[in-house]
């Protein structure tokens, strides 16, 4: 079989941009969280729990986690494209990454809204 080089999928900008935007979201959340923890450090488990049961805190944390997973997806796909050159194995691994990230997203909702 002739080995033909196949490129020209015409995407990539959106993912690259998403990687930048999600990184900014994560930095903002982490800075806010660290500041909040420094200003009023929670004394015990219950105080920490109370802090994260605030509705806004839940939404912010969820936004952070979704950014993290989206960022991880772009990064993981980049790694797989760099190193895994057999299309079938790459596709399988990419699907596994997507499934685990989806699972983590649902799991984080479950954790955040059950505190």
């Amino acid at each position: 079989m002739v080995k033909r080089v196949t490129t020209g999928a015409h995407y990539g900008l959106r993912d690259w941009l998403a990687q930048r935007v999600t990184a900014v979201v994560m930095v903002i959340f982490i800075l806010c969280l660290v500041t909040a923890l420094l200003i009023s450090p929670p004394h015990d488990d219950n105080a920490l729990k109370a802090m994260f049961s605030n509705q806004w805190m839940r939404i912010a944390s969820f936004l952070f986690l979704v950014s993290l997973f989206w960022h991880a997806w772009v990064g993981m796909r980049n790694i797989l494209m760099d190193y895994i050159h057999t299309t079938s194995i790459r596709l399988t691994l990419q699907v596994l990454v997507i499934l685990s990230l989806l699972f983590y997203t649902i799991w984080s909702v479950e954790i955040l809204w059950n505190l």
């Binding site: 490129t7 999928a9 015409h10 900008l13 941009l17 980049n78 494209m81 760099d82």
Partner: protein, 231 residues
């Protein structure tokens, strides 16, 4: 001065090996290329490419003590001994320090590195303002020595698909040219997860460029142009 040089002759050797040389340099042997020419006086089987011997032609790119550079503009003074010389990494070795640049030039040609302008040529020239001309500074000086692309891991892993820093610098050289009319087609071609977006901005290319050019910045500008036309 002591050298350890990568040797491989596909007709004779089963595997590449490192050969040691201990050479007395003359006072006039200031650059690494002078030293290599001196080595060739004792061992003329050592093969390397060279031509202008002053950093203009880009022929003698090689890996010098682990770092890509041009032998002709690398002073021997200051090189750690034994000086370890290897062919540019990531490209097939033809013999000794000579690599097969086919893949590199294929990527270079893929970005159409020439002016595309369908207007009838004017009587004299296609004029540019000094500001428009200044946009090309830091882009047109590339001598295609391949030091950058062969220092780029993304080019090592996907040399057939990733255009590489040298090719992308040239792609931007024509995107930045006020006389070029193929901006949209050029961006369409480059908007691809492999051709452009294998670059993860690790800046190895900037680190090794013997002409002090900045392919990473050019790649960033290409991405900027794509963002501008998309969002």
């Amino acid at each position: 001065m002591r050298f350890s040089i990568y040797r491989f002759d596909p007709d004779k050797d089963e595997k590449p090996y490192m050969q040691d040389y201990d050479i007395a340099l003359e006072p006039a042997d200031r650059m690494l290329l002078d030293a290599l020419v001196r080595i060739k006086t004792v061992d003329d089987s050592l093969s390397l490419r060279r031509s202008c011997r002053e950093g203009v032609c880009g022929s003698d790119g090689m890996n010098i003590n682990g770092r890509n550079g041009l032998a002709c503009v690398t002073p021997v003074a200051g090189l750690k001994e034994p000086v370890e010389l290897r062919p540019l990494p990531g490209l097939p070795v033809i013999r000794d320090l000579i690599v097969d640049m086919t893949q590199f030039f294929k990527q270079y040609h893929s970005v159409k590195p020439y002016l595309i302008n369908n207007d009838p040529p004017p009587e004299t020239e296609r004029l540019q303002s000094p500001e428009e001309r200044a946009q090309l500074d830091g882009l047109y000086e590339c001598i295609l020595c391949a030091c950058c692309s062969t220092a780029c891991p993304s080019f090592w892993w996907n040399p057939d698909k990733f255009v590489g820093p040298a090719g992308l610098l040239q792609a931007y050289r024509f995107l930045a040219d006020s006389r070029d009319q193929a901006t949209a087609e050029r961006l369409d071609y480059l908007e691809d997860p492999y051709r452009l977006f294998r670059c993860h901005s690790i800046m190895n290319c900037v680190d090794v460029c013997p002409k002090d050019l900045n392919p990473t910045r050019a790649i960033g500008r290409i991405k900027d142009m794509m963002v501008k036309r998309t969002v």
